[in-house]
């Protein structure tokens, strides 16, 4: 399942619903929630996520297909926020369900690593000094490359 969210969502509620809908064969569920990071030296006051409607959903669907081909998953869910959001709000939520924990944990990590580097989203940070487009991080590319 894929959802592009244009408003704030509650990842706790999403996880509870995901668990409720799992088949009887599921023995383990993993999830990841990414938040807009505030505080620190970045001084981020808001974040705007831009995407490419149509292509973004297709790319996420392909990434999910890859995960399901690689691991024995009962189900999976990706929610990605777009638009303007504030520190503390959820940007992305990934959940995976499998008979055993290893597949659920690995697939969850794979999904977030590939989402960050292979799906068309772009982050614009607002700080007290103005706006700036976020540059890709080498560490994200390295994390994604581990799964090749």
């Amino acid at each position: 399942m894929i959802r592009i969210a244009t408003a704030a969502f509650d990842s706790g509620r999403e996880l509870a619903e995901f668990i409720r809908l799992c088949p009887a064969s599921t023995g383990g569920i993993a999830s990841f929630t990414g938040l807009v990071r505030g505080g620190g030296t970045d001084g981020i006051t808001a974040l705007t996520l831009e995407h490419y409607p149509g292509m973004t959903e297709r790319r996420i669907a392909e990434i999910i297909e890859t995960a399901h081909a690689r691991w024995q998953l009962d189900s999976s869910l990706v929610i990605h926020r777009v638009g303007r959001m504030l520190p503390g709000e959820a940007i992305v939520f990934v959940a995976t369900a499998s008979a055993h924990r290893a597949a659920a944990l690995a697939a969850c990590e794979f999904l977030i690593d590939w989402l960050k580097t292979k799906a068309p989203f772009w982050k614009l940070e607002e700080t007290s000094a103005g706006e700036r487009w976020v540059e890709p991080r080498a560490a994200d590319d390295e994390a994604a490359a581990r799964w090749a």
């Binding site: 831009e50 940007i91 992305v92 960050k116 580097t117 799906a119 989203f121 772009w122 982050k123 487009w133």
Partner: protein, 83 residues
């Protein structure tokens, strides 16, 4: 051809989408980038870091030698930074 621009390519070019007739002789992604770079200061500024510009043809990532036609949707954007 339908052209779409995202993130800082959109802000430098000054529009998110436009329809332009594909000039005769432009047949690849590289040719589209060369043609657009000559359309004005905003385009030139958007395309001055050509090595980081990514391209999708009909919503699929496409390399520089990928063919293009007037019926295509061609999107230009920087490396992705989601998640």
């Amino acid at each position: 051809m339908r052209l779409r621009y995202f993130a800082w390519l959109r802000t430098r070019i000054g529009t998110s989408a436009e329809e332009l007739p594909l000039p005769a002789g432009v047949a690849t992604v590289a040719g589209v980038l060369d043609w657009l770079a000559g359309r004005g200061a905003g385009y030139a500024a958007a395309l001055d870091r050509r090595d980081v510009v990514r391209v999708a043809v009909n919503q699929e990532f496409a390399p520089l030698d990928h063919p293009v036609s007037d019926a295509d949707e061609v999107a230009l954007f920087p490396p992705v930074t989601g998640g």
